[in-house]
């Protein structure tokens, strides 16, 4: 009896040792994504947290040696990275973080990014094309892996133009391009403040959605916000001033909603969905939001059409380019032995199918050329735009790659735009002051 008991105990002990040993070799990986766990994906309506759970459960089923825990944060905090900054400061950042280049580059700039060159094969790199530029360090090492990107467009309330018989003034298929002159003509014609219709709107109270303003520069060749080579700001150049003068003429002619310096993008929404604005610069996801809001609030719906940002007369049409790509960043590990499994997870996450789904959730474009366009079959409008965007590649309207202290620069830019949106603005001086200040900020 006793011997049997001892045998049993030995077996149990052996078993638990083995189990413990295998349990110990499970590597814990933490994954954070910017967003909100309660929000739903834009393409399928599935909750983000359910989506990620599926993704990671699937991965862990075939990779028994990792234990992935995920969290989706930051959306509620007004889009700031405070939760990340403090996690970094406390020495407990996640292993992997997924967010827009604008925000993850901050951590790269602080020297916290691990080398991800091993994630992508040559074949992979071909799929991403020149988008990888935004994620490559000067020494050629990859500090991030791209996933999805948005693009900027001018969204037009076609119904308003139709009602007044002015639709002929709008840009036409298939490319929907127009010059600044054509843009002004349409704006002047549709503008009717006495009856509550403004041609368009600007907003500058906060840095939020400043790309909607910056995207105008894409139509003016030679305008450079930031020069990577000399590491200085160039938005006070003659070409930039010319573009800004065009934009200011919209204010001078009362073609924009008054008070833009005191509005954030949210404040313009009510005007737009109540059809008090004829057209507005924004991002591709704005169209979807419009429809949803109109349905929710029981407002009369309207037909909208997407157009390019206008280009300077005589210049090539403004390209549809992906902007501010989202990507993965991996924080440098204390134990380098952790890296291989993390790299493998990234490889999995950036694979065409998952990347396509993540992009679709944000109503964005997956950046791999071989990833399916999430709107291919469902939304032919979006498909033509997303195809064009991927063809062109990336245009960084946030102009932030490699810019240290970019958040401060962005805040300074918001203040410059606030000054710009006044009737009596001295544009050259405002831009000179901004350039001086921004150059100082990045040297700190």
């Amino acid at each position: 009896m006793k011997r049997n008991l001892q045998c049993l105990m030995a077996i149990v002990l052996l078993f638990s040792m083995v189990a413990g040993a295998t349990a110990q070799t499970k590597q814990k990986i933490t994954f954070w994504a910017f967003g909100s766990e309660e929000a739903a994906k834009g393409d399928t309506g599935e909750l983000w947290r359910d989506f990620y759970k599926k993704v990671f459960d699937q991965y862990m089923a075939t990779h028994k040696d990792v234990d992935v825990s995920f969290a989706i944060r930051g959306y509620e905090a007004g889009g700031t990275t405070l939760f990340m900054d403090t996690a970094v400061a406390a020495g407990t950042p996640p292993d992997i973080y997924l967010d827009s280049n604008m925000r993850i580059s901050k951590y790269y700039n602080q020297g916290l990014a691990a080398d991800l060159s091993a994630v992508l094969t040559e074949a992979d790199r071909k799929q991403y094309g020149n988008i990888l530029k935004d994620f490559t360090a000067p020494d050629g090492k990859l500090w991030g892996v791209p996933v999805s990107g948005g693009y900027w467009d001018y969204i037009i309330n076609k119904t308003l133009f139709d009602k007044k018989g002015l639709s002929n003034l709008l840009p036409k298929a298939p490319d929907y391009t127009w010059t600044t002159e054509q843009f002004l003509k349409a704006a002047r014609a549709i503008n009717d403040p006495a009856n509550g219709v403004y041609a368009t709107a600007f907003f500058a109270k906060s840095p939020s959605m400043d790309s909607a303003f910056n995207a105008f520069f894409g139509g003016f060749p030679g305008v450079e916000f930031y020069d990577q080579k000399t590491k200085t700001f160039k938005i006070n150049s003659p070409q930039a001033i010319e573009a800004l003068k065009f934009l200011h003429s919209l204010l001078d002619e009362n073609l924009i909603v008054p008070g833009g310096a005191g509005f954030i993008d949210d404040d313009i929404d009510p005007y737009w969905i109540n059809q008090n604005i004829a057209m507005i610069g924004g991002a591709n996801w704005y169209a979807k939001i419009t429809n949803k809001a109109i349905k929710e609030q029981g407002l009369p719906s309207f037909e909208y059409v997407l157009a390019r940002y206008p280009n300077k007369v005589g210049a090539p049409p403004t390209p549809v380019a992906t902007s501010d790509p989202d990507g993965f960043i991996v924080f440098k590990q204390k134990d380098p032995k952790n890296m291989p499994r993390i790299l493998d997870l990234i490889k999995y996450l950036q694979s065409p199918e998952i990347a396509s789904s993540i992009a679709g959730g944000w109503s964005k474009v997956p950046l791999r050329a071989d990833a399916k366009n999430p709107f291919g079959d469902k939304d032919p409008d979006q498909k033509s735009w997303t195809d064009a965007a991927r063809k062109f590649g990336t245009a960084n309207y946030y102009y932030n790659t490699g810019v240290p202290n970019f958040n401060e620069v962005r805040q300074a830019w918001a203040e410059a735009r606030q000054s710009f949106l006044q009737k009596d603005a001295n544009i050259q001086k405002i831009m000179d002051d901004f350039v001086k200040r921004a150059n100082q900020i990045i040297k700190q």
Partner: protein
């Protein structure tokens, strides 16, 4: 050892036990952080504290060079100089008016004026953003009835400061009204009666008797309001975010921006120290004034 000294030493030891929780909390949550802030103010630091670099006095000298800091400093003084006297005058006038009613109605009015204070600056700002809207806001509509062109309240550097002042005024008068009413109620009735019989009219009674009699209350209101307005943040945050172009920013708002948005905690700490020093100087000055008149 006699009974009293044994008692007093026992009382002393007990006293230390009694003040211990409070004092420990004070050291840990007020004095400690304050000293750490002062320490941090000499460093260039972000949230990654291990990477901080020493700057010494250069940090403070750098502030003198920083045009936005100077603007915030100037604005903060401007806020105090505009809002504090206005609030005192308005609340005093209202208190004098409320005083003429019976106690029940006094309580009603007093509560009514305190309601905005209870609701708080954040919630009031939410509705004022709507009221201030240039196109569909209530204020421009009312002004329009008088033929005044729409004003870009929160969107123009020339009016943003004033807009913040107006909103601040709506929720800072509640407390002074209560205090003034209490002070006025404390004035002895026979002085007032004697004066009335002597032929002193109502205005003179107010100016020559009531106001001087409540001087301590006035000075107290002055002191607390000054400190409160020096620390203004909520209204600036909700209404204008300091803009446009920093025309309405305050020192505390700049500290918040510098620390939590730009993540420059060292610089923000230095600004905090400057603010503390200013408040202490102003408060000491006011205490001096107070002591003198007694």
């Amino acid at each position: 050892m006699n009974k009293t000294s044994r008692h007093s030493s026992r009382a002393s030891r007990a006293a230390y036990f009694f003040i211990a929780p409070g004092y420990i909390a004070f050291l840990a949550l007020i004095l400690g952080p304050l000293l750490y802030s002062i320490y941090l103010s000499f460093f260039n630091a972000s949230f990654n504290l291990e990477a901080k670099t020493f700057r010494g006095l250069g940090q403070y000298l750098g502030l003198l060079d920083d045009s936005i800091f100077l603007k915030a400093l100037g604005n903060t003084f401007k806020y105090v100089l505009v809002v504090v006297p206005s609030a005192i005058v308005v609340s005093l006038v209202i208190a004098l008016m409320i005083e003429r009613f019976g106690p029940r109605l006094q309580g009603l009015f007093r509560g009514a004026f305190y309601l905005p204070t209870v609701a708080g600056g954040v919630i009031l700002s939410i509705v004022w953003i709507w009221i201030f809207n240039p196109t569909y806001g209530l204020l421009n509509y009312v002004l329009g009835a008088f033929g005044i062109q729409p004003v870009l309240w929160l969107s123009s550097p020339s009016t943003s400061f004033l807009s913040v002042c107006v909103v601040m005024l709506t929720y800072t008068i509640g407390q002074p009204i209560i205090l003034f009413l209490a002070g006025l109620a404390g004035i002895q009735q026979d002085i007032l009666d004697a004066a009335t019989v002597d032929g002193v009219n109502a205005w003179q009674r107010i100016l020559l008797i009531k106001i001087p009699c409540i001087r301590p209350v006035t000075l107290f209101v002055l002191a607390t309001l000054t400190i409160q307005i020096f620390q203004s943040w909520e209204t600036v945050f909700m209404l204008t975010q300091g803009g446009p172009s920093n025309s309405s920013t305050s020192l505390v708002f700049l500290i918040y921006q510098t620390a939590f948005i730009s993540a420059r905690v060292g610089k923000a700490a230095a600004m905090g120290v400057v603010l503390t020093v200013i408040i202490m100087i102003v408060t000491l000055f006011q205490i001096r004034m107070w002591r003198e008149e007694r």
